[in-house]
Amino acid sequence: MSVLVGRGTRVVVQGITGREGAFHAEQMVEYGTQVVAGVTPGRGGSTVASVPVFDSVQQAVNETRANTSIIFVPPAFAADAICEGAAADLDLVICITEGIPTLDVVRAVRFADERGVRLIGPNCPGAMTPGVAKVGIMPANIFREGDVGVVSRSGTLTYEVVNLLTAAGLGVSTCVGIGGDPIIGTTFTDVLELFREDDATRAVILIGEIGGSDEEMAAELIGRGYPKPVVAFISGRSAPPGKRMGHAGAIISGNTGTPQGKVEAFGKAGVYVGDTLDDVVQHVGVLLPGRV
């Protein structure tokens, strides 16, 4: 079993004719993901990486029974692309695009919520169940199948921790990048709830960073009782307040979003917070049930 993406995932790539869209469509196909359609308005009828291109998501769904979309549309049009995906009744919309105006995302999240369509991102690397399906931009070769669920606000840190897991002989059940923007569709608590019910996941690594209070809410959820060990990491512990550290959402504003607050919240919930990613992976190895 797995969460979010699995054997039944049929992907439509929104923005497939762009440079990034075309490149990653091919990479996903190569990995064995069922990429059934692409969409670029006005480019219907063509193909990219042998994938048929349609003018609209609805057309793509009608013709190919796509149920999951991944978005590589430029920032000015990406929120509309999210809404188009949600309106076509997909199960899941994953938005890779970085730099979408925040108020556009507020509207798109509202639109998707109303239709019961799950949104991951924006500004995220996507989701992947190793050995089964990759709906994202992560380098597949570093992943190994296993029983650690990974959820993260950062792309490259995800790759870093997955690489360390693989080196330690551990593997990943499902890896979810939730994105580095201030407003995102799926949060840490949402993914923790999914991992809770997932038989394939026996431990969870949560990679947070400064800004917002998603980590604190995750800690609260775990504190109320969570059936699997969780190990956390917080990046930006040396960041000065008021400075946006690359990610639009990575900023300490006043008393919120501080690394101290997040580390304390996890501490209260009994969640180990690693000082380094090596430390995190080592701890997960120790905590995994049935391992020495």
């Binding site: 105006p101 570093i142 792309g155 790759y159 870093e160 930006g236 946006r244």
Partner: protein, 376 residues
């Protein structure tokens, strides 16, 4: 992007939010002339910091001469590290009450929240810390916008004076629409003044515009004043780099915001002090890597550079080529430590062999090495 108070008030005025009569002055003489037209007035330094009053950046002038002297004392001088280039001279208000009214984007409800408090005129962070119940927050459904009954409820809960409520309610709605029209991430009026005559005026204004939306906010983008930003940050942004200037001496370059932040943390943990944050982003080509080195070296304090690359879409060999191009085109006198993993890392390391670049197997080792080398 932050607007100055006078810029924010121009936006307010254009949208019908009442503001005091006022003029911007860049010289003491201009301030004096403005005061002659305005009468008893307030001279306010225009800088992007809070707590200007405490820092001496807000003064009440009873005469034009006083206004001139206050302006003279502020202009060209630093206020909490930022140079004052303009002052706003504004009519002094007859203040009966001071309230707080704001709209911002709330990450938890994923909506714009309207915020109101009867404890206006104070540092809002302090109010939030000491009297959290005194700040009323209400998320607005983007599908409908603020409805009258919601605004009435917010004002009642905040404890606003009933007589002023109609006027404040109108302003609250305008604040929400200004936020949407301007792609603002924060619109804050503190204080919102109820005068002795019962009128309501936005006496101060904080305004932040979403950087991601500047492409469609041309008028506001024109307000951007690079000169007040850090000059290296300004140059980096002109070149499209994601760079944050810090106060240490170890230059940090990496791919991905999370990885770069973590690299700063590792250097700090190992006893070093990062000079900057620089993210070359996903899929960086050799050219942007070379440019990254140039930007980092604009800071004369930099005594060493640490590259931390985890190749995903970014390829190690491409980064290595960029580093080599950089070291060939610029005379680099500081040591460079390179840690490379992921896509084409092997090829990248091979390219760097035989040069004076120092390889490191992991990020922790890399942090320790660069700190050691920078000391020499």
């Amino acid at each position: 992007m932050k607007l100055y108070e006078f810029q924010a008030k121009q936006v307010f005025a254009s949208k019908g939010i009442p503001v005091p009569r006022g003029e911007v002055a860049a010289t003491a003489q201009e301030a004096r002339a403005a005061a002659e037209r305005l009468g008893r007035c307030v001279v306010k330094a225009q800088v992007h910091i809070g707590g200007r009053g405490k820092a001496g950046g807000i003064k009440v002038a009873n005469t034009p001469t006083e206004a001139r002297d206050y302006a003279q004392a502020m202009l060209g001088k630093p206020l909490r590290g930022l140079t004052v280039k303009q002052v706003l001279v504004e009519e002094a208000l007859d203040i009966d009450r001071e309230y707080y009214l704001a709209a911002t984007i709330d990450r938890t409800s994923k909506r714009v929240v309207l915020m109101a408090s009867a404890m206006g005129g104070m540092d809002v962070e302090e109010v939030a810390a000491n009297h959290p119940d005194a700040i009323i927050k209400h998320p607005i459904d983007p599908a409908y916008g603020p409805m009258d009954f919601e605004i009435r409820a917010v004002m009642t809960r905040a404890g606003f004076d009933a007589k002023a409520s109609r006027a404040i309610g109108t302003i609250a709605k305008q604040v929400y629409h200004v936020m949407l029209d301007s792609d603002a991430s924060l619109v804050e009026i503190n204080p919102l003044v109820v005068t002795g005559a019962g009128t309501v005026v936005a006496a101060d204004a904080k305004f932040e515009v979403d950087d991601n939306a500047l492409f469609r906010q041309q008028a506001l983008a024109a307000f951007r004043e690079d000169s007040e930003e850090d000059p290296i940050e300004a140059e980096a942004h002109r070149r499209g780099a994601t760079y944050v200037h810090l106060d240490g001496d170890i230059g940090i370059i990496g791919n991905g915001a999370g990885l770069v932040m973590t690299t700063l943390d590792l250097v700090t943990r190992a006893g070093g002090r990062p000079a900057n944050f620089l993210d070359i982003g996903g899929g960086a080509q050799a050219d942007s890597v070379r440019e990254a080195i140039e930007i980092v070296l604009m800071d004369p304090n930099v005594k060493g550079i640490l590259f931390n690359i985890f190749g995903g879409i970014t390829r190690g060999d491409e980064v290595a080529k960029g580093i080599l191009a950089g070291t060939e085109s610029i005379k680099i006198k500081v040591p460079i430590v390179v840690r490379m993993a992921g896509t084409n890392a092997e090829e990248g390391r091979e390219l760097l062999e035989g040069t004076n670049l120092v390889p490191a197997a992991g990020p922790i080792e890399a942090a320790e090495k660069i700190i050691e080398l920078a000391k020499r």
